[in-house]
């Protein structure tokens, strides 16, 4: 059985609201990621929901180094 990837799940309750990160699922492909996200997070009545493989999130920047330096100081 093929390997699985972590998918980040985003949703919003009402039209026009910002998308909110609501969790993750592990799945071998987009199709199963969709159904897993739907059934795992179906306790709310969402307006819409999206999944994306975690490794497809493009980092803009992070403050890891700054925070680490501050904590080390």
């Amino acid at each position: 059985m093929q390997s699985r990837s972590v998918y980040e799940v985003f949703a919003r309750k009402n039209r026009g609201e910002p998308l909110r990160h609501i969790g993750t699922v592990s799945a071998p492909d987009d199709e199963l990621a969709r159904v897993y996200a739907f059934s795992t997070y179906d306790e709310e009545k969402w307006f819409d929901m999206f999944v994306t493989p975690r490794d497809r999130l493009v980092e803009v920047f992070n403050r890891r180094d700054v925070i680490a330096a501050q904590e080390g100081a």
Binding site: M1, Q2, R4, V25, S26, A27, P28, D29, E31, L32, R34, V35, Y36, F38, S39, T40, D42
Partner: protein, 262 residues
Amino acid sequence: MSQTATTTTVRETAVHDLILVLADSKRLLGMRYAEWILGAPELETGIACASMAQDEWGHGRLLYALLKEVTDVDRLEHGREAHEYRNIEVLDHAPADWFDVVAINALVDQALTVQLEALTDSSYAPLKQRVAKLIEEERFHSAHGVAWLKRLAAAGDESRDRIRNAVTQTLAVTARWFGPDSDDARALVETGVAAAAGSALRQRYLDRVQPLLHLLGVDAAACANPDFAGFDPVARRTAGSAPDAATITRIRGDKNRMFLMD
């Protein structure tokens, strides 16, 4: 006057027969999903089984409740003998393995959806008011089955053979389930209860699942004209067949009988 009365009776009888077929099928389908909440190949698919079981049981209850004017719903849910159940035959026994579960998920769930879709504009208002919600709630069920079916078909020769065998067997029963063009089927269409029945609905179903069958090299045409010898068109199953004893004990809730309240 008597003409009207007769028409109403024919229509009501046909509607009630159909509702019980749907309700029993959903009740048993929910149980088959629930059996795999634990022990499914991965955590997320177990959660999906729990979610689908919940949906099917909810739909079953809602459909049984539509019969409360004409029968004792409590008896329907908890007091019937095996031969009185009208579920689709492929749910009579627990699926042997995950391949069977996936075949049921992809094919039986879709068959029930196709049947419900024929009722979205029903002349029977209580059905018309409810079916859209049921279809909406189950739209991810067959998507789950289809995604798994594709995955199993792509996971090597042995896996592909096993899912093809499970699909071939399940499809034959599911296609036959739509029934012959019987008096009951005609009554449903002529009274406006259903937009289609019998062979027309079967063809609609086979067209719907065709891409899956093609993927596995399963021939849909072989199921277009089933052998209806011994088929009971009212119960929509082989006369004399019934769910097995273990299934009946669980579905009736025999172990919890002492907790049943009025």
